[in-house]
Amino acid sequence: MGSHGIRDRVAIVGMGCTPFGEHWTRSADDLLIDAVGEAVTSAGITLDDIDAYWFGTQASGVSGLTLSRALHLPHKPVTRVENMCATGSEALRNACYAVASGAYDVAMAVGVEKLKDSGMSGLSGTVIPGAGDDSRGEITAPANFSLLAPAYAAKYGLAGEEMKDVITRIAWKNHVNGARNPRAQFRKEVPLERIRSAPIVAGMLGVFDCSGVSDGSAAAIVVRAEDAYKYTDKPIFVKALSFVAGPADGLLDPEYDFTTFPEVVASAQEAYRQAGITDPRAELALAEVHDCFTPTELVLMEDLGFSERGQGWKDVTSGAFDLDGSLPVNPDGGLKAFGHPIGASGLRMMFEAWLQLRGEAPAERTVKSVAEGRSLALTHNLGGGPGECVSFVSVVGSQLTE
């Protein structure tokens, strides 16, 4: 028994990603057709070459038919997966394992979500009765993640204004990055003061502390590592895929202090073990993390091992995670600038790793760490909220390990 990982056994050889945004004139079908088309074109193949599909969406369709109907796929296996906001990553993980197992030569992971058609603010269209007795006291996603802010500030002695400065800077940084990304929903830099003084949504969080509501789709083509160079001279090799569903005891257990996601710590440690990483801050070229709300990104810096406990806010403030910092975090603009079409986000993150490690990101937001010799990227996303969540961490690289 044990978790063995599939380091360097599969590679991503093609990817596609639509612009994310308010696609009023386009359906979920339109978006996934575009992402899938871009992916097969980039790999130089056709859909006839794909042997199996893993399709991720939370609320924009059920069953494999959502994909096969849109593409009129001829009798191929299509599995729909869902794991809250980690749905896109879960689709990729399953596609990778399917190829690594030897069951298929070529697999595709596709993620899509159409949020804007609902007319609601925030995530919607997901009726989850839960216990069904309506005793859960459901709160909105920004309120749920805002629970982190007072707890973090209290534990590490930050005054309310200091804490607000820290999360404001995270939003500012991701908007700076997103302004340099043609696929981002929000493509303008936003001044610190405007972020700071924006209308409050929940707790300490203003409008700019929250990721947007957008539509989008992304796709990836996975093959065995030894076949990778048949498709591209710049494949991305999968080093680690780590996913955990937590025991969901943070809302039951007074020991949980709302300054960490234990699920992220566990999945990150497992990913680093699979990938052979000992110092992620120094070894990674970039990280794409789940900045659904700004306090989430702050806590993730510590949970992912980029900062010491209680020090993340100082690293944020000093610019360590800026585009030109020691470890660029969310160089594509993150959920902050892209919005969060749930099924697509994990694959959108991987798309940025794909671009950066292949040297294909636009010059104005290319991370210099790749040119300096780093070849590994991390993607992370999570679903749920503080106290009960699922967490995914991948590590991919442009080089096979010696």
């Binding site: 216990a131 629970l147 949504v201």
Partner: protein, 478 residues
Amino acid sequence: MAGLIAYGAYVPYHRLARTDVAAALGGKGGKGTRAVAGYDEDSTSMAVEAARGALARDGLRARVSQLFLATAAPAYLDKTNATAVHAALGLDPHVLAADMAGSVRSGLGALVTAARSPVTTLTVLSDLRTGLPGGSDEVAGGDGAAAFVFGGHRNGAPVIAELLAHDTVSDEILDRWRLPGAPVSRVWEERFAEEIYVSLADRALTAALDHAAVDIGSIDHFVVAGLHARACAAVRRTAGVRAEAVTPDLAGVIGNAGTAQPGLLLADVLDRARSGETIALVVLGDGAGVLLLRTTDALPAHRAARPVAAQIAQGSAPMPYATYLSWRGLLDREPPRRPDPEPPYAPPAHRRTGWKYGFVASRCEKCATRHLPPDRVCTSCRSVDAMTDEPMADVRGTVATFTVDRLAATPSPPMLVVVVDYDGGGRFRCQLTDATEADAVIGARVEMTFRRTVTASGVHNYFWKARPVRTGETEGTH
């Protein structure tokens, strides 16, 4: 000896200043304030709060044999409301729970029924009084509840007030009425029924005094309740009791709570009466009724933990009139751009009645970890099906972290949310009510209160919320 063995009262936290009504609508508006049930309260939830106060004494709950809920503002028709109170109190399934609903006089009916019942009886009087904006029922009305346990037939439950006598006279009078579904009452010219009520009160009072062989001059506390304010005032003035025995009607500070008013006034007297005093409770409405009680030596040691006067003193600063109107459904405000709230589903709500209504969690038999909500698998040692019930309704806690949700669908935005760590272990995230944003801070002390969280698709969702422990209240007991 049979008689009253326990009581409790509930005055909601919120207040409306009558001058604010006048400021918005013009006119005089009147003096003082009225009590206002929160947007998350109704006659059922207030009944639970009052009954919790009455049953706070150890062992009393197990002795209750029947429960009557009297209200003129039932949360449901057809469906019994007393069963929700029964569930929230965790009473034995064999305890009869029945409504006496529809008329304000049902409060008198429930009291008399309980007082002369051969078994220990919990009777709860609860009401919301609503009128059209600016009308006298809105301005003079009030909300609240009171609960009484009559028993003492067996040893072990000291009687705090002996029932000396009672009498009722019934009379068919068209002085106040409301068609089912109508939002407000209609009232005949007030002077019409005044003399009739004075006469009816005299007949009932005389009968009760004769039966008990008590002289009217020896009444120590003369309580008169009823929606006919002129008639009540006339009875107080002309009945012949000593002037100092006439008790205040509290209408200036909390308004007239209709069905619950005689209960609240009686509770207020019991909060301060001395041993061996005689109380006459006169209730006017479709006739008259009188309960004649004499307090015992046991009263001082068995008063309610939360006196009516203290609850009045701890009420909120006056709320905006527009907020009151929107809470009452008289001002239809723009909802947030969110999906409509979901109603609870009947089967899971029924499967989890103990949790949902009683706030009964579970405790692991192996490692003593508390679980809110109750689990089958222990989150700590992962033992399966090794749990015992853990009632949590009266356990206080401390806020671990909090938020203010400005996007959530709630009848009274913003929604205050707290993560509560309970004394003795266990954690639960829930709403904070009867509070302002300043009350939601790490370290704040909270207690649990039974509320109607939302009404969706015609279904009331009852569940528990936290509320701040107000200063001046003793820690420990409910």
